[in-house]
């Protein structure tokens, strides 16, 4: 079947089997490999992308059912500068092997945007086998305080 996806601001046309997940469409058909295939069963969060601004699991989403804009980690940087959450992950050393990082970052962006009270609870859908959790939480908190001071200046 023929589908149209809007990914990181670009309109992309694809001809796919209905079985193709959003994750496989992004990675295998569009060459957008930021979202990672970890468990492929909706349990690890490595494939987290935003659809209509909300984090979802691309591995449990059929590409043909996606009607709203998709944003992946590749779409976060603006004007050649990393997103404040990406910057915070680098500064807080919030990764070891990096495989889960793009999914962690996509959830973290939502955590900051939604001003969540409990970061650990919100981030529990993103597993990190290197157990970089303390630094991931620190990165989310750094990005949140960066945003708060930016908001205060406005």
């Amino acid at each position: 079947m023929d589908i149209t996806l809007e990914v990181n601001g670009e309109t992309r046309h694809l001809s796919i089997d209905p079985r193709v997940t959003l994750l496989d469409a992004l990675r295998e058909r569009l060459g957008i490999t930021g979202p990672k295939k970890g468990c492929d069963r909706g349990q690890c969060g490595a494939c987290t992308v935003h659809v209509d601004g909300r984090p979802v699991l691309a591995c449990l989403t059929l590409a043909a059912t996606v009607r709203e804009p998709v944003r992946t980690v590749e779409g976060l940087a603006a004007d050649g500068r990393p997103h404040p959450v990406q910057q915070a992950f680098a500064e807080q050393d919030a990764l070891q092997c990096g495989f889960c990082t793009s999914g962690q970052v996509m959830s973290a962006v939502a955590a900051v945007e939604q001003e969540v009270a409990d970061v650990r609870e919100f981030m529990s859908g993103n597993l990190c086998r290197c157990a970089a959790y303390p630094n991931i939480v620190a990165a989310v908190e750094q990005a949140r305080s960066t945003k708060e001071s930016a908001d205060a200046r406005v």
Partner: protein, 319 residues
């Protein structure tokens, strides 16, 4: 995943006459299709159907469209705390952004034997047997079980809704019907493959929570192996109306212990009219696990259930 035909109608009539398996958030269906547990030849994407909206109607009943996402319902200011809490303690934030509440009520059990097509399972393959009864059954049910199936019902939301006497409005081309959620789910008995009362050609249209003015005083307590992102070993939904130190009215249901969401009417009856204190809560909770049939590895649930009931009552009475 087996090949299937996918359609995406925009009208209810097209969807209801399609004869295809309904796909909303996909968090159960796509998962189980990948595991070959479900192999529907035709799937209908129902996300474009007009089954949305969260509102309080003129009678004061809360009406929630079946396609509303778990995260949207949890965040809505007019949703009772016990419902919000049950939703926020479910799954992960990504899954809550995806899963519809109609789909949440239709989710399948997390029994490991059900999810593994290499194993027998009476629920998936009627008559093939139930390895859980003699096998790894630590997570399984102690209430409402049969010799054919001991799988728990996995939904937290359903527990909260059963406590509040919620109904579901079913839509079909024959018109609609209204069913109490507590009557919608079937005990496994000899036919565990028949999990609910949804007929072919029907969809859940709306969830209706009757007005309950004192349900602002309600909560959901979930006991699990991990602090987050895990299914319940035992959970309890409570709404409590305390007047002059006495229990004027109460609603209690439990999850993680039954083959269906388990209303604790005997505990409610023992509490009504009595003092709203810890001793009375402890005494009433003693009947919570009456009728339980523990298996080799889940006997702890008969002790955990009354304790969780007491904790939920204490939390809400002190709140």
């Amino acid at each position: 995943m087996r090949a299937f035909e996918l359609t995406a109608p925009t009208t209810l009539d097209e969807a209801l006459t399609s004869g295809a398996t309904a796909l909303a958030g996909g968090t159960t269906l796509v998962d189980l299709m990948k595991l070959d547990v479900l192999t529907p030849p035709r799937v209908v994407d129902i996300n474009a159907l007009p089954l949305r909206g969260i509102e309080v109607d003129p009678a004061g009943d809360l009406r929630i469209g079946a396609l509303e996402r778990m995260s949207a319902v949890a965040a809505h200011p007019q949703v009772y705390p016990v419902i919000s809490r049950a939703l926020l303690l479910s799954a992960s934030q990504q899954l809550r952004n995806m899963a519809s509440i109609g789909g949440n009520l239709m989710q399948r059990t997390r029994c490991g034997y059900f999810r593994d097509v290499a194993m027998p399972c009476n629920r998936r393959d009627p008559g093939s047997g139930c390895p859980a009864i003699e096998g790894a059954n630590r997570m399984h049910a102690v209430l409402g079980t049969s010799d054919a199936c001991v799988a728990t019902h996995a939904s937290d939301l359903a527990v909260a809704l059963v406590a509040l006497d919620a109904r579901i409005e079913l839509v079909s081309t024959q018109g609609g019907r209204s069913v109490a959620l507590a009557d919608f789910y079937r005990l496994p008995g000899d036919t565990p493959e028949r999990e609910h009362d949804l007929r072919p050609g029907e969809l859940i249209g709306e969830i209706v929570v009757p007005r309950l003015d004192w349900a602002a005083r309600s909560t959901y307590v979930k006991v699990r192996d991990r602090q987050s992102y895990e299914f319940a070993l035992c959970s309890v939904a409570v709404a409590l109306d305390v007047r002059d130190g006495r229990v004027a009215d109460v609603r209690i249901a439990a999850g993680g212990v039954g083959t269906v969401p388990w209303r604790l009417t005997a505990v409610e009856a023992a509490l009504r009219g009595g003092p709203a204190d810890e001793a009375a809560f402890e005494a009433a909770a003693q009947v919570a696990a009456d009728g339980a049939r523990p298996l080799s590895h889940n006997g702890y649930k008969t002790a955990l259930l009354p304790r969780t009931v007491v904790r939920a009552l204490l939390e809400v009475s002190r709140g």
